[in-house]
Amino acid sequence: MLTPVRSRLARRGALPLAIAALLLAGCGTDTTTGGSTDEPGTPVDGGTLRYVVPGSPATASNDPHGGLGNESDLMRFALTYDVLTVPGADGTPQPRLAQTWEANQSLDRWTFHLREDATFTDGQPVLAEDVLYSLTRIADKAAENYGRLADFDMAAASAPDDHTVVLATRAPMAEAPKALESISFVVPEGSTDFAEPVGGSGPFRVTETDAQTAVLLRNDDWWGERPHLDRIEIRAVADPQARAAAVTSGQADVAGSVSPAAVKAAEAGGDVQVVRRKGVTEYPIIMRLDSAPFDDPRVREAFRLATDRQALVDTVFLGYGQIANDLPTPYDPSYPQDLTQRTRDLDRAKELLEEAGHADGLKLTLHTTTSYPGMDTAATLWAQQLADVGVEVDVKVEPADTYWTAIYAKKDFYVGYYGGISFPDLVRVGLLAASPTNETAWRNASFDAEFNAAMGILDPAERNTKLARIQQDLWRDGGYVVWGVGDGLDLTSPGVHGLPDGPGFQRMFIERAWKTR
């Protein structure tokens, strides 16, 4: 379900990033940043926030249970519908429509207690039947939404009373509340026609929509804390340059998901703020453990030691990112905090290569593509860095169209992509012996056993300790060179405050934002 995005659908420009972030970042977490930008000053009530979001007119939809291919739609849904849980600042799911939840002993039956004061815009209360209807509809539309709720058995779900929902998972699933985060949009039971927006129970309601803009007004009947803003205009603009220009020229207050280059240009040119969301993009180097020369751990270690991480972050993400330590999910709550940071050590790298029998050099072909901005630069620069230890890496830029079918998880040496996937999802997709896309050919029986044991533990702290343990193995022996993680970047005009800068879908929940006059 959560494979890295490798879509021909999303191959160009900013759209791939947007979709990638949409589909994958939902599970991303971040332990280092707070929940929102905390600028000084008291929030001011009132005003209109004009938000320009990546959105492709071709894919605009009113159905919150479909593909969610458009950020502009997703933001509208996040503001007009309630979800069961939302991503919290610390990476754990927080209550929204569900106030509390608990699981049975085997972690495959989850009981959610809904708040009783939520009402739809037509005045009807939000009941357990509405939640079941909505979740079942999401599960039924698996073909459209990439099986978003595939881990839940909706046929076995039930509603013991009006404000309690019991959900069944197909296997023990300690992270069920997390899987429901953000995407479990609740619509009134029986809604089938989504040609026009269907009323929800969120902090805002839609008043008008056209080809580009959705106008939302504050829903004063919402159960939660009263939002500061009166009105939000969400505009879908596909071109990243046009989004940035809308803010710099004062036609919009916020531009979502702009490129590092556009941020640099805007910062140099005018009075703007930048919201940095951590852990959104990474381009790891993938080495297959079952093919030479990467079957020799000394070669993998040498390659990691030859990497100048800061130079890569500065060039590929223009500094809007952090160096990483060869683990693909440094933002996950289970990340082992006590790990030594690998740094560049050319002497040791050369030694290792000599020991491995490559004293007189090594010649390799590294595949990359242009699907996401900077993938090719990353390959070129890294190849230059490896030249310093006598390894000649020939960079081959493959067509973006066929990369994710012909190269990804097929070749033994290439530049990969992750967009904020969580560690457990990463393991399920690519690190178990039976994983569908085990791109590094990491097959380790004790790793698998420890992972499965960890996923049966309900207590997050205890589970994360176990997960951190197995990441130590991956750090030491795995097939990744993860040199850095790029930030998600939003551009705002100076008067805008209170926007979320947390991981993944959190950026869509902007109801606490406010604007100085």
Binding site: A245, T248, A262, K264, A268, T315, T370, D376
Partner: protein, 265 residues
């Protein structure tokens, strides 16, 4: 004051500019993809065109940024011209069936604007390939039409009859006797084909179906450097001027060739 014979110098200048653009990356003083200065630095002696949003040398980027664009445009134009001339010769030689088909096909493709064709093709093809195919589909019938018309007029001239009576094969006559007579016409048409191809390649690149950042590319630089127009206008002018110049030179070349052919100055 003597009027500059624009049209007379244009082909020479065009050749020089195109050569410079195609080989420019070897003359670039800096790495076109690496920052070397403060973003939006204004022109100085070290950086004659200043720096762009990332502090990259605009001069180096301009020098390196024409090859791909012009390469695609030249390929597309050459393909359109070759196929067009071939079709035109066939249609002019056998006007009844082939001529009719070419005319009709030309009318049809006139109804589908070349840009729309290129975009539709970009669904399945990489940007450069879409430009080439669209340029051929929309340009070749036009070339074919003028070549066929001209061909039909020379067809009945004495020297062709003589060649045919010598017993030479039709195809040989076409290539050896007829083609040279069409030289001026083809030269003029080449300029027009190149204009269309250049426009298509530029538009698709700006729309994101061509080279991707951080590649230096004139078309991409137009949109990349627009946000800094007030800070370093040179960064915007630097790719715009050679791009416009190439287009102007193509137009001038086409006109020159047309006039030479018609004997009008």
């Amino acid at each position: 004051m003597t009027r500059i014979r624009w049209s007379a110098v244009a082909p020479g200048v065009a050749l020089a500019v195109f050569t410079l653009a195609l080989l420019g990356r070897y003359l670039a003083p800096n790495d076109p993809e690496q920052p070397v200065a403060v973003p939006w630095s204004v022109p100085s002696t070290q950086l004659p065109f200043g720096a762009d949003a990332l502090g990259r040398d605009v001069l180096s980027r301009v020098l390196a940024g024409g090859a791909n664009l012009l390469g695609v445009a030249l390929t597309a134009a050459a393909a359109a011209l070759l196929i067009g001339v071939a079709l035109g010769l066939v249609a002019g030689w056998w006007p009844r069936w082939a001529g009719h088909a070419v005319r009709w096909f030309g009318d049809l493709l006139l109804a589908v604007p070349a840009l729309v064709l290129a975009l539709v093709l970009a669904v399945a093809l990489p940007g450069a390939a879409a430009v080439v195919v669209a340029a051929v589909l929309s340009g070749a019938p036009l070339t074919a039409r003028v070549v066929a018309a001209q061909c039909a007029t020379v067809r009945d001239s004495g020297y062709l009859h003589a060649a045919v009576e010598r017993g030479e094969h039709g195809a040989v006559v076409l290539v050896r006797e007829l083609l040279p007579a069409l030289r001026g016409l083809v030269a003029a048409d080449a300029g027009l084909r190149l204009i269309t191809a250049l426009q298509l390649a530029t538009t698709l690149a700006v729309l994101g179906f061509g080279p991707q950042p951080p590649d230096p590319d004139w078309a991409l630089m137009l949109s990349e450097n627009l946000p800094g127009a007030a800070l370093n206008p040179t960064a915007l002018l630097a790719p715009a001027v050679p791009l416009a110049l190439c287009a102007l030179l193509c137009a001038a070349t086409a006109r020159t060739a047309t006039r030479e052919r018609e004997g009008v100055w």
